[in-house]
Amino acid sequence: MIALLKRDLALATRAGGGFGLAVAFFLILCALVPFGVGPETSALRPIAPGILWVGALLSCLLSLDRIFALDHEDGSLDLLATAPIPLEAVTALKALAHWITTGLPLVVAAPVFGILLHLPGQATGWLIVSLLIGTPALSMLGAFGAAITVGLRRGGLLLSLLVLPLYIPTLIFGTEIIRRGAEGGDPTTPILFLAGITAGVMALVPFAAAAALRVNLR
Amino acid sequence: MIDLGKYAGTVLAAYGVSLLLLAGIVWQSWAANARARRELEKYEKNG
């Protein structure tokens, strides 16, 4: 199983793997927002948590279709399905690889981009915490969407349409953590909710994703 | 005609939009069904 994770990481970081594109997209998004709303701190500060989360969400979306599409094209998915590893574990591992190559860089980059958006200093810690807890769920739900659309020729747009509504609860609790943190409030409740959602997604969605993959393989 | 008071526009707009949408889905369902029946009958007749 480690071999699968290692291979996916190697493929993502080698030439043509698209590693770092998500962070670059995230940067552009955060750089564009002030042009839209104006450079004043009073305009940027209240929307910074939301922009950072929505930006992370959209950046995550960019690379979702690669989770299974490439393996489907070259026949690896057929072979993985006949391997001794259960398909549920394959989907979970691929989501994990996606998180390490996309989600984790976003978590690291977000505090820097927070400065661009005048995010208050005391909220930075909560930004990292909320992204760290929330982004794994984004990758796993994305893997589910990718599993459903893997056989389709123009699945990319449909994938976004299917996955984004599933991101709503994560987005709500994620930004709530930062907002409460920035106001000096107690963000324990949204943290617990967000962690609960992520844990539930991790436990249950691999089964749905594996079921969808099996349908698409027949 | 009954008097709708100062909210006449609001009420009429709500009824108008709703009835339009309902009529739209009814018409679409009916038309699609008629078309499917025609095509199937045509195919079964011609073999």
Binding site: P165, P169, F173, A208 | N33
Partner: protein, 241 residues
């Protein structure tokens, strides 16, 4: 004979064909009657004539949720018992549900304009319906994107299952996010908040009408789907032979 016999396409076509004219008449009478009766009700002392919108808004909102539940049940029947008509019924119901959601949203927005002073308010209930609309759109889009009917039925079934969980989750997340202006459920049974009888009876008729209308539409659309599938199946068989 078990109830599953009705899942046989031939039998379904026969029974639904016989029932449809009567159901259609009942649906037309109840829906138009309920709406017209509602339109003629007196004004509310607080909300003025806008109270008449309730006869569209509430039944549509009720059906928007119930249709999704019906799709969930139909999907489960397909996934567990593999009745093809059940999968097609779920597919047939989705556009009707989307239109109901749209009516609930549109009437809500139009009603909100004079009451809250804005067309759109990010009220938890309105927001939940917007999210529900997104799920309907995704479900319909997935059905139309997959060519192979067997895969399409399975994948949309799985999506409906996962979507149901997340629609419910979003509902509670939205409550947490914003407390909102929306009044409580209109048919609340708590004493003191009960709706006056002048409004209650037309509302019941209208709700029954919307339910019957949905039944008629879903039967017609399922028949359409069965005919389309039959045509495709005959063509596939001819191509193979």
């Amino acid at each position: 004979m078990s109830i599953w016999e009705y899942a046989n396409p031939v039998k379904f076509m026969r029974v639904s064909g016989a029932a449809l004219p009567w159901l259609a008449i009942a649906a037309a009478v109840c829906t138009l009657g309920g709406i017209a009766w509602g339109f003629l009700t007196p004004e509310d002392y607080k909300q003025g004539s806008t109270v008449k919108i309730v006869f569209l808004h509430v039944p549509a909102a009720m059906m928007a949720i119930n249709i999704w539940v019906m799709m969930l049940i139909a999907s489960l029947i397909w996934l567990i018992r593999r009745h093809h008509v059940s999968a097609l019924a779920a597919k047939a119901a989705a556009p009707v549900g989307a239109v109901m959601t749209l009516i609930a949203l549109a009437t809500g927005a139009i009603w909100g304009q004079p009451m809250w002073g804005t067309w759109w308010e990010w009220d938890p209930r309105l927001t939940s319906f917007l999210i529900l609309l997104l799920f309907y759109i995704g479900y319909i889009a997935l059905w139309s994107a997959i060519e192979d009917p067997d895969s399409a039925a399975d994948l949309t079934g799985v999506l409906c299952l996962v979507g149901s969980v997340f629609a419910l989750l979003s509902r509670y997340a939205v409550l947490f996010w914003n407390q909102g202006l929306h009044q409580g459920a209109s048919l609340s049974v708590a004493p003191g908040e009960r709706m006056s009888e002048v409004y209650r009876y037309p509302l019941y008729v209208s709700m029954l009408g919307f339910l019957l209308l949905f039944l008629v539409l879903v039967l017609v659309r399922t028949r359409t789907e069965i005919r389309r599938r039959r045509l495709a199946a005959l063509q596939a068989r001819e191509m193979r032979a």
